[in-house]
């Protein structure tokens, strides 16, 4: 009987139904999740901020809603967490950095407006690599987040807090942001579903910019149906975001069988054996379901990391210039303006952020723009074209999400290139602007392995549909800190 398991053990669909039927009150749902946070988060460290009072107040408000009012709002009764680079009015937002100090946003991100309209109850903000720069959440200046599957390991990043919170069942839904894989990689490491929408599908208004031309907000959940539900709530045009696409036609795809592209560049060296095994088993399953696996080539893949590590830092160096100690956030006093600027930024930013600011500033500086930024944007065009050609042949592309499983904390501190190379399978979707979905495909040595699905631009919904057919074929996911039998 589902009603016997704790409320925090339900997915969003189930919680919403329980709330609509009156089987659980919003207050019970919130209370259950807050308790779960209290018990689980001491070892996981997913949250930077939990708004107990705000969530309970919202829950009591929702409990006064009629059945119709509940049904009208697809997320009524459902707790949700925000990666702490998404602003919500009145709540602190840190971006995992010291430099934002005591900042409290005077406005809501567009996704937050949409969540609230849909009845979601925002319980708090989750940890991340500082300004979303990192793949392990170890680069947060504020807290350590551990992988619920093995607390000696990282949850991945930069949306590691959201991934860990969902995997440890502290919330059924969380938002992350993905600039080079920052939703999909931690989803893979934590064994959950994470999706980066088509660039422009979800408004970036209120998302603290890392690399503007690559950033997208997306859902992180324990089931594909929940990911789709959350995606449907947050997507859409926005009068505050000039890069948000008007709600046009969604690309659809037939019921199948499909032609599924398997890019040879993604199966080369550098992939851990366990990841290869799980991936190949999933591909075999797809074949047995009647789909056709087609080996394809995305020839410019080897250049993706290099292009990404010019474009993203360049944009970041610009986006992070506003943290100057004048209007908000931290300020280190100095006897004159420039000293104040330099001390504030010196004390406020962590090492990885400084490294990327310097790299990006250099890439844009006089005499280097053409060789670095412009060249990288041309390579980006080639990577987009690779996908354009590939999707003339195939309906979807399936790859591993990451070459590895969650690594140990502290393991990759010293080597930026090695850390950057972990993004090798995910950055291409950001560069091409296409949607990507990571679903848990199985375990290797007890750690989750993600399978990445890619679709053409605006193929977001078809991605959920396609991956869902596989989800039903796979072993049901067991949650790492689940209910004891």
């Amino acid at each position: 009987m589902t009603s016997k398991k704790p409320l925090w053990d339900h997915d969003a669909h189930s919680l919403h139904d329980l709330f609509c039927e009156g089987a659980a009150s919003a207050e019970e749902i919130v209370t259950s999740h807050l308790e779960r946070i209290r018990s689980a988060d001491s070892s996981v460290g997913a949250f930077l901020y939990v708004d107990e009072a705000g969530a309970l107040e919202e829950a009591r408000r929702q409990d006064r809603w009629s059945a119709v009012e509940r049904r009208e709002r697809p997320l009524a009764g459902v707790p949700v967490a925000l990666k702490d680079n998404i602003v919500a009015q009145g709540m602190p937002t840190t971006a995992g950095s010291k430099i934002l100090g005591e900042f409290r946003s005077p406005y809501d991100a567009t996704v937050v407006v949409k969540l609230k309209q849909a009845g979601a109850m925002i319980v708090g903000k989750t940890n991340l690599d500082e300004f979303a720069m990192g793949s392990s959440t170890e680069h947060s200046a504020l807290a350590e987040t551990r992988n619920p599957w093995d607390v000696s390991r990282v949850p991945g990043g930069s949306s590691g807090g959201s991934a860990a919170a969902v995997a440890a069942q502290m919330v059924p839904l969380a938002l992350g942001s993905d600039t080079g894989g920052s939703i999909r990689q931690p989803a893979s490491y934590c064994g959950i579903v994470g999706m980066k929408p088509t660039y422009g599908r979800v408004s970036r208004y209120g998302l603290i910019a890392f690399a503007s031309s690559l950033d997208q907000i997306g859902p992180m959940t324990r089931s594909i149906r929940d990911a789709r539900l959350l995606y449907e709530v947050i997507k859409g045009a926005d009068a505050h975001d000039s890069t948000a696409l008007a709600l046009g036609e969604e690309r659809t795809v037939s019921q199948g069988p499909w032609r599924i592209g398997v890019p040879r560049e993604y199966f080369g060296e550098g992939m851990e054996a366990g990841v290869r095994q799980v991936t190949e088993a999933a591909l075999e399953r797809l074949r047995s379901m009647g789909h056709e696996l087609v080996e394809i080539s995305l020839p410019h893949t080897p250049y993706a990391i290099a292009a990404y590590y010019l474009i993203a830092p360049a944009e970041a160096s610009s986006n992070l210039s506003r943290y100057d100690g004048v209007r908000y956030g931290m300020r280190a006093e100095g006897r004159d303006l420039v000293t104040m600027y330099e001390k504030t930024r010196d004390e406020g930013f962590g090492a990885e952020v400084k490294r990327r600011i310097l790299l990006g500033t250099h890439a844009l500086s006089a005499g280097y723009y053409d060789a670095y930024y412009l060249t990288a944007q041309k390579v980006r065009t080639l990577i987009r074209q690779d996908f354009d050609y590939a999707f003339r042949e195939v309906d979807f592309i399936v790859t591993p999400t990451t070459p590895d499983v969650a690594f140990r904390r502290g393991e990759r501190d010293d080597d930026p290139i090695k850390m950057y190379l972990g993004d090798v399978y995910t950055v291409t979707a950001n560069l091409a602007g296409i949607p990507g979905l990571s679903i848990p495909a199985g375990l290797a040595d007890g750690l989750p392995v993600g399978l990445q699905w890619l679709a053409p631009r605006l193929g977001d919904l078809s991605l959920f549909d396609a991956a869902a057919t596989l989800e039903t074929q796979l072993e049901p996911m067991v949650w790492p800190m689940g209910v004891d039998e």
Binding site: G101, S317, Y328, D336, T339, L382, R457
Partner: protein
């Protein structure tokens, strides 16, 4: 193209980051490794390839020129580290920049 300490300090100056001597050495190594890594892009023939300068929409939407409420001055300045007379106070501005500490 190796970055020298002088170039790194110039870039740091542009970015308003102050680097101490002990930060400089590891940074120079890291930056040069990254620059060495990205130099592989130079091997590609990019003649005739258009840069992807805009990721999605090909045309900026235009907004109607209709005023909406601004923040209250209290809201606008509530996050200010130093506020006087409803304005953000900054230390004295020395043209040409500060002297070293």
């Amino acid at each position: 193209m190796e970055l020298s300490d002088r170039e790194i300090l110039h870039v740091a100056r542009l970015a308003r980051l102050r680097l101490t001597a002990d930060e400089l050495e590891p940074l120079r190594q890291d930056l040069n490794r990254v620059l060495d890594y990205v130099s592989q892009l130079q091997s590609l023939d990019l003649a005739g390839v258009e840069p992807t300068l805009h990721a999605a929409a090909d045309q900026a939407p235009l907004r109607k020129d209709i005023e909406t409420a601004s923040l209250s001055v209290a809201e606008a300045t509530k996050n200010g580290p130093k506020v006087e007379q409803h304005m953000f106070l900054v230390p004295r501005i020395m043209e040409g920049g500060s002297d070293d500490e």
